[in-house]
């Protein structure tokens, strides 16, 4: 492939793949997108991410970068002159990294348990999920974005989950807005941005695909 070419390997409704897409869109970078079938992984994916064999993978100058937050940071460093996502100040930058990491450690794992589990286990998952969102809402405070006045790293890390809220809410029988109204306002604000609205999947389509997955793997 040509030296400067940018390629992104992604799949379906992965919120991690969406992070990379949003970052690329924010920077106005042209790239080739390759949709991976995770039940039949391509030789390219296996070659580019032999350790985890997961998406997203960004390929730039023929070299792979793996793990969504590492990809977003890489994009921000290489195309640093437009739409910076990470703050310049080391402390604020570290705070952003901490909260993005929090999304992975707490929000993601709890959210998965919400749609996979049932009964008491699901109740615990719901509580953990909403608690993690409440912490994020507290950190957001009155700022328009997690990045302050402008859309930033933590915004990119969290916003893809918004198109999955309908799935969690339907399976878990709750509404995020009743617990975290400010977070929903924040999400709607982000959706005004083309990089976000063009990237996020339709929430009903996400729900249908999860329902189909659960049915196929008899998780009901």
């Amino acid at each position: 492939m040509e030296e400067d070419k940018v390629v992104l390997l992604g799949s379906g409704f992965s919120m991690f793949g969406m992070r990379a897409k949003i970052a690329l869109a924010e920077k106005g970078i042209k790239y080739e997108y390759i949709e991976e079938d995770l039940t039949n992984k391509s030789s390219l994916l296996q070659e580019m991410n032999p350790i985890h064999k997961k998406i997203p993978v960004l390929i730039h100058h023929g070299r792979p970068i793996c793990e969504s937050l590492i990809i977003v940071e890489y994009i921000d460093m290489v195309w640093h002159s437009n739409s910076p996502l990470l703050p310049f100040d080391p402390y604020l930058k570290s705070q952003a990294k901490f909260w993005a990491d929090f999304v992975d450690q707490k929000v993601y794992h709890a959210s998965r348990r919400v749609w996979i589990s049932k009964g008491d286990e699901q109740e615990v998952a719901k509580k953990d999920f909403l608690e993690s969102l409440k912490h994020l809402e507290e950190f957001l405070g009155d700022k328009p974005y997690f990045g302050g006045e402008t859309f930033g790293f933590v915004d990119v890390a969290l916003i893809p989950f918004y198109c999955w809220f309908y799935t969690y809410e339907t399976f878990g029988n709750f509404k995020v807005e009743s617990v975290c109204p400010k977070l929903i306002s924040w999400a709607k604000r982000c959706m005004q941005k083309e990089s976000v609205s063009e990237t996020l999947a339709d929430e009903k389509e996400v729900y249908e695909s999860v329902l189909d997955y659960k049915t196929r793997f008899i998780l009901n």
């Binding site: 350790i51 970068i65 793996c66 570290s94 901490f98 912490h135």
Partner: protein, 223 residues
């Protein structure tokens, strides 16, 4: 105020995560005050500085707290520019971040499963996963250190493998890091633990082995 500002580190003696931060601070010659926490009776300060995870290490610089060892290490490297531990080039930096996360997301959980699970099948699975993870690291090691000729972020993150893993092996009667299977990684372990800054900041081995023995005993007892 001192030239570095006021730097405080909250840790626990023997913690590999607090140890990472100490190595980075010492490498850069940063003056700091160390506070030993009792995790069974966490201080008000710790709970104030890390209300989310309530864990160590926490670094406080000029009154501003930071948590999560790898996040702290990035902050230290950007604040004190001497003896850089992260590569400058975006691609190499991304690789360094990838491998440090690999240690925490894959190696540590696999080793913990291999050593500290009551269920025999789970332990065997953990051993398999640990050996696989160690093999990836073995293949990745191309110089004296992961950072090249001097230690970098991946070496500091992998300190767990160099010092704490052998202690776990002794405590529970496990052998994962053999020099036959992992010659480069074994040699690297020796080089890393003998690095003057690292050596000075390692906890007492007997205490660490003792800690792991007690942990193993409680797992076995709860079967």
């Amino acid at each position: 105020m001192a030239k570095d500002g006021e730097v405080q580190l909250f840790g626990v003696r023997g913690s590999p995560f607090a140890g990472r931060v100490q190595v980075a601070l010492e490498l850069k010659g940063v003056q700091y005050t160390y506070f030993e926490e009792d995790l069974r009776n966490k201080s008000d300060l710790l709970l104030k500085y890390n209300p989310i995870h309530k864990k160590v290490p926490v670094l406080v610089h000029n009154g501003r707290p930071l948590a999560e060892s790898l996040v702290i290490l990035q902050y230290i490297d950007e604040t004190w520019g001497n003896h850089p531990i992260f590569p400058q080039h975006p691609y190499h930096r991304a690789l360094a971040r990838f491998w440090s996360s690999f240690i925490d997301d894959k190696c540590l959980p696999a080793i913990t499963k291999a050593a500290f699970t009551a269920n025999k099948e789970e332990r065997e699975k953990g051993s398999e996963e640990s050996l696989e993870a160690l093999q990836f690291l073995e293949n990745e090691l191309k110089h004296k250190f992961f950072g090249g000729e001097s230690i970098g972020i991946v070496d500091i993150a992998a300190g767990f493998i160099a010092f704490w893993l052998p202690a776990i092996e002794e405590a529970v009667g496990l052998k994962l890091l053999s020099s036959e299977k992992f010659p480069k990684l074994s040699k690297w372990s020796e080089e890393y633990t003998n690095h003057p800054v690292v050596k000075e900041n390692l906890p007492q081995r007997e205490r660490v082995v003792g800690f792991f023995k007690a942990r193993y005993a409680s797992i076995v007892a709860s079967k």
